[in-house]
């Protein structure tokens, strides 16, 4: 029964993907688009296979940037969220600046980061962290604000200090928000990595895409995009699994039956 359900659960999304790929394939094969502009899925698949060695080694470069960038972004977000949560002054003074930071076009600022931080890993981390910290701050703050004020009063009558209330109540309550933000960040981070690599690098999937694109190797460029997309999905799924493992209480059915 559960195996059956697992099958039907996968069958739907799989069918959608197969149908979309089929339409795409037919459209290109029937001359709807120039294969130099839009390669057919079979061409991309074959590029994925032939270039697998190059794709893999460049994937490892991008994956390292992205994973470290997310970690830095989430840590910055955690510190900022806690600061803003505790200080009305920070909320008024810093929060608007955080919003402003997200209006900066990454494409334009990425070359500057390279000038400031060199050609290596550091500017990539900075760019990815800049893009990823914001959704985490927003969702973590939202989770912190859902804490019931009556619960804080209760803890006060149990002699809990402000720090104890934070540690025992607010911090755990913020974790589902932190995970939600991290899932969003995982997806945005891949785009940020591409911009960062485009601005200056000699490896990575973004670099590979830029090179292939400039040489009119459309299938090879799309193959890099396919790997990036799969990576984003994988990170999102991994975080979702980690969240269920780490916060099982957040997924329990609310047993309100007496």
């Amino acid at each position: 029964m559960s195996r059956m359900r697992r099958w039907t659960g996968w069958a739907g999304p799989l069918l959608v993907v197969v149908v979309l790929l089929g339409i795409w394939e037919l459209y290109v094969d029937l001359g709807g688009a120039d294969p130099l502009v839009l390669p057919a899925p079979h061409a991309i698949a074959s590029a994925l296979y032939t270039d697998r060695g190059t794709l893999w080694s460049n994937f490892l470069v991008t994956a390292q940037e992205v994973v470290l960038g997310i970690i830095v972004g989430v840590l910055i977000a955690l510190v900022l969220s806690i600061g803003i949560h505790f200080s009305a002054m920070l909320r008024r003074g810093v929060y608007p600046l955080l919003i402003a930071s997200q209006a900066i076009p990454i494409v334009l600022i990425a070359p500057l980061f390279l000038l400031w931080l060199g050609f290596g890993l550091l500017p990539k981390l900075a760019i990815i962290a800049l893009v990823t910290f914001f959704p985490v701050v927003v969702t973590t703050l939202a989770a912190l604000e859902t804490v019931d004020p009556d619960l804080i009063k209760l803890m006060q009558t149990l002699d809990a200090s402000r720090l104890e209330v934070f540690r025992r109540v607010e911090l755990p309550a913020s974790l589902p928000g932190l995970f939600t933000g991290a899932k969003l960040a995982a997806v945005f981070s891949v785009i940020a990595a591409v911009f960062a690599e485009q601005a200056g690098s000699n490896s990575g999937l973004g670099y590979l895409f830029t090179i292939a694109d400039s040489q009119l190797l459309a299938p090879e460029a799309f193959a890099a995009v396919a790997v990036l997309s799969a990576f984003a999905i994988a990170m999102f799924a991994l975080l979702a699994v980690a969240e269920r493992r780490a916060l099982p209480w957040a997924y329990q059915p609310k047993g309100d039956t007496a």
Binding site: D148, L154, T157, S161, P172, L247, Q252, P253, A258
Partner: protein, 255 residues
């Protein structure tokens, strides 16, 4: 606030009383102006006494409890109270902690180690009919069980006064009746000074040594009924029924 001369009678009364509230006034400023929540309320609770406070919604019952717990200060009058632990209407258990760790959260907040808090809370699970549910998270417990854990959490805070804010209002009628019987027995075994705020007159009469009836806002005590019915009390006991009717009359509910 007035400073009174420490005469003999006063000193004696001080040692007897766990809670002394005299002419307490509490107002709130809202956009529509000043709201008088409590208008010169006086309550005196002896050590070990269970006082049930009944009143209509918005009569300032919760404000009274927060004064007792020291969560608010009066704008006038005097509030003198032994340390109190609050038990809220909703259980407000921490969903990420087990029942055992929820019960011991006050001990943890005071700096006890996890194992010490668990050792202190453990024996109570048997007594409170929670044995076997130590590791269960609040989401896996029934409403009645959650309230028992919540009560245990307040009890383990080790405060002389328990302030219960409509503890069973969120439960269904059958569970509520069970829990009232359970609480009556638990309080007989574990004597504490209790202020129980409720809008359930029957609950007040079943549990209280005394029932204080409050008027609608601004809150004032309009009647004090001594419940001299021996425990355990039955809902159907004619004395209980009569006292219930009397309390309802004081509240102005037509018969």
């Amino acid at each position: 606030m007035t400073v009174e001369a420490p005469d003999q009678e006063h000193a004696e009364e001080q040692s007897e009383a766990a809670i002394v509230i005299e002419d307490a006034v509490r107002r709130f400023t809202s956009r529509r102006g000043v709201v008088l929540a409590l208008d010169g309320i006086s309550v005196r609770v002896r050590r070990g006494e269970i006082v049930a406070v009944v009143g209509p919604s918005g009569c300032g019952k919760t404000t009274l409890l927060e004064l007792i717990c020291g969560l608010q200060n009066p704008d006038g009058g005097r509030v003198q109270c032994a340390p109190a632990a609050l038990m809220p209407q909703r259980d407000l258990l921490l969903p990420w902690l087990s029942a055992l760790d929820n019960a011991g959260v006050a001990l943890r907040a005071r700096g006890l180690s996890r194992s010490a808090a668990r050792a202190a809370a453990g024996p109570w699970f048997e007594r409170f009919g929670l044995a076997g549910f130590e590791a269960a998270r609040p989401g896996e417990l029934s409403g009645g069980m959650r309230q028992r854990v919540s009560f245990l959490r307040s009890l383990l805070a080790g405060k002389p006064v328990l302030a219960l804010d409509e503890p069973f209002a969120a439960l269904d009628a059958i569970t509520r009746a069970e829990m009232q019987t359970w609480l009556a027995r638990a309080l007989q075994e574990e004597t504490r000074t209790v202020v129980l705020v409720t809008h359930d007159v029957e609950e007040a009469v079943l549990l209280g040594d005394r029932v204080a009836v409050m008027s609608p806002r601004p809150g004032r005590i309009v009647a004090n009924l001594v419940i001299d019915v021996p425990r355990p009390r039955q809902r159907t006991d004619p004395h209980v029924v009569a006292l219930r009717a009397q309390a309802l009359r004081s509240l102005g509910v037509p018969e």
